[in-house]
Amino acid sequence: MLIPRTITYINTIDTSLKLVALILTAIMFWKAYRMYKLYREQSLMYFTIAFFFFTVGNFFSFIIDVFIYTGIMTKGMLFEIFNLHPVVVLFLAIRLGSLLLGFLYLFFIALGFPKRNVQVAIVLLTIIAGITADIKALFFHLSVTVFTAFVLYDLYLKYKHGRKRAQMLYFMGMAGLYLAYASYALFLFFAPFYWIGHGLEILSYLFFIAALYAVITKNETKARKTRNHT
């Protein structure tokens, strides 16, 4: 039975948060891509690919919401239509698959770049997981939680070594993402975790941008000093 739901301000907030996530990841992707063009290092390439996938995933996340909340469908209808409408199923699979691939590439960096055939096998499994994921995507959220845990541990070791402000900000952002995806996984059991996850995810991306800003401003100051000296 269909349970139609009208468009409320909650839907608007939900969609707006997804738009913010899309913009923030797109900024990160663009900056990383510009840097990769200048310095063609493998780890930088993987980082750029990861943020490309995050941007694609967040784009489809936003598009699905726009598709749902612009009056074509209501959320109640969604549950009926999800298994029937091929476009929605395709968009959802692309969204989950892209986000998972993004985390996977960060995971590869943390692992220290495994062999190419191992990478291909993991990527294929990830794509299958994305395509076969159900609406609630429990497998997806758990996989991301595991990936981010590895990444987090690797970043912690690097932070201990370097102790830079930007490193700390990026670490905090990744910790936020870890908690966000753990919250999404728990949302199946307790609905408010969905909003906690959303808040944490946006906060994480903001930490990433803050880390990027810290790097850029620090180097601009350094460059100014050097030029004055020269």
Binding site: M35, L38, Y39, R40, E41, Q42, S43, L44, Y46, F47, I109, A110, D154, L155, K158, G162, K164, A166, Q167, Y170, A211, L212, A214, V215, I216, K218, N219, E220, K222, A223, T226, R227, T230
Partner: protein
């Protein structure tokens, strides 16, 4: 990819040597500091002049090299990238 990166590193090294010598360096000093063969260094210098990263200054019998504004900008961007990579655990 690795070859390309090495090339970028050499370019960075040459530009850094010029900058650290108060933005004015003789070719002999550059050759000694950059650890390249004479032929290789000449190729790099030609490339950098073509790209407007450095200027060749002739003062009497002596030739000097100095960074242009673009050269300074390149060095700034390069150090930003290295810092970015370190900060983001890459």
């Amino acid at each position: 990819m690795k070859q390309k990166r090495e090339r970028l590193e050499i370019i960075h090294d040459i530009l850094t040597v010029i900058m650290r010598n108060k933005n004015k360096v003789k070719p002999t000093h550059l050759l000694y500091k950059s650890n390249l063969s004479h032929k290789m260094m000449k190729e790099y210098l030609t490339y950098l002049i073509d790209k407007s990263f450095i200027d060749e200054i002739n003062e009497g019998k002596n030739t000097f090299y100095s960074l242009t504004e673009q050269g300074f900008q390149y060095l700034d961007k390069y150090s930003t990238v290295l810092d970015f990579m370190e900060s983001f655990g890459l």
